[in-house]
Symmetry: C2
Subunit: 114 residues, 2 copies
DNA sequence: GCCTTATATAATAAAATGCTTATATACTAG
DNA sequence: CTAGTATATAAGCATTTTATTATATAAGGC
């Protein structure tokens, strides 16, 4: 059930440019699994809130995520209808589930109450 | 025949960091198809010889390519035994074969005598 | 309305990137 | 040995990136 390859050099490199950053790669991994609000992500990654917001803005600019406002929170999740979907999923599927950083992140994710 | 995913965050992002540059992405596409010597690549891409050499060095540092000296030339080709092979091939397979930059490059490749 | 919380944006400084020019190295031909 | 070609490396510079701090915006509770 492979999708036809049809990304331009520009679109492809734009996407890789987003995912080459470790924080953004792992963050995207999480966002493909479930939605998160910004404050949850800030608690999980060791960077400031503006840094997270800026990463999220990059995803959004590339149509990789949906943003949904609910009350005073904004929830983000992977946009499964984006044209880069296959690419993103293939890249993320290459990530070792036992990778130290990923494992650590997942355990933090469980502990968070926001 | 999918290969087991087992790349660390570090290895994965290192590879994406190499491929996010349009020149390096297209160059890698060519190198997965056949071997090239540096002067051929210089003629195909619109950058200086040192720029090409520097791109090639990045591949080599990440074990993505083999380098073979023959006479005064150095031939480069994709290293099919590298651990990032599946990742690289999946990424490259997402590239539209009709992409303008790729098509232009291929036509130049045919014309080159080095 | 006012205060608090959640989030985005702006400004800025530090680091990384990728190109160019200049130079070094290595092989070939004579 | 010398000159020419192929390639790598070094140095320098302009641009981009990313994080931080400071500030703005927007919603919720009182």
């Amino acid at each position: 059930m492979t999708v036809t390859a049809a990304l331009s050099t520009e679109k492809l490199t734009e996407t890789l440019k987003i995912l080459y950053d470790p924080t953004r790669l792992l963050l995207m991994k999480l966002l493909t699994e479930k939605e998160y609000c910004v404050c949850e992500l800030v608690d999980m990654f060791e960077v400031s809130q503006p840094a997270i917001s800026q990463h999220l803005r990059k995803y959004k600019k590339a149509s990789l995520v949906y943003e949904e406002r609910r009350g005073q929170w904004r929830y983000y999740r992977f946009n499964k209808t984006c044209e880069q979907r296959a690419l993103v999923e293939q890249i993320l599927s290459q990530l070792d589930e036992n990778d130290e950083q990923l494992v650590k992140l997942r355990s933090k994710a469980e502990a968070i109450t926001c």
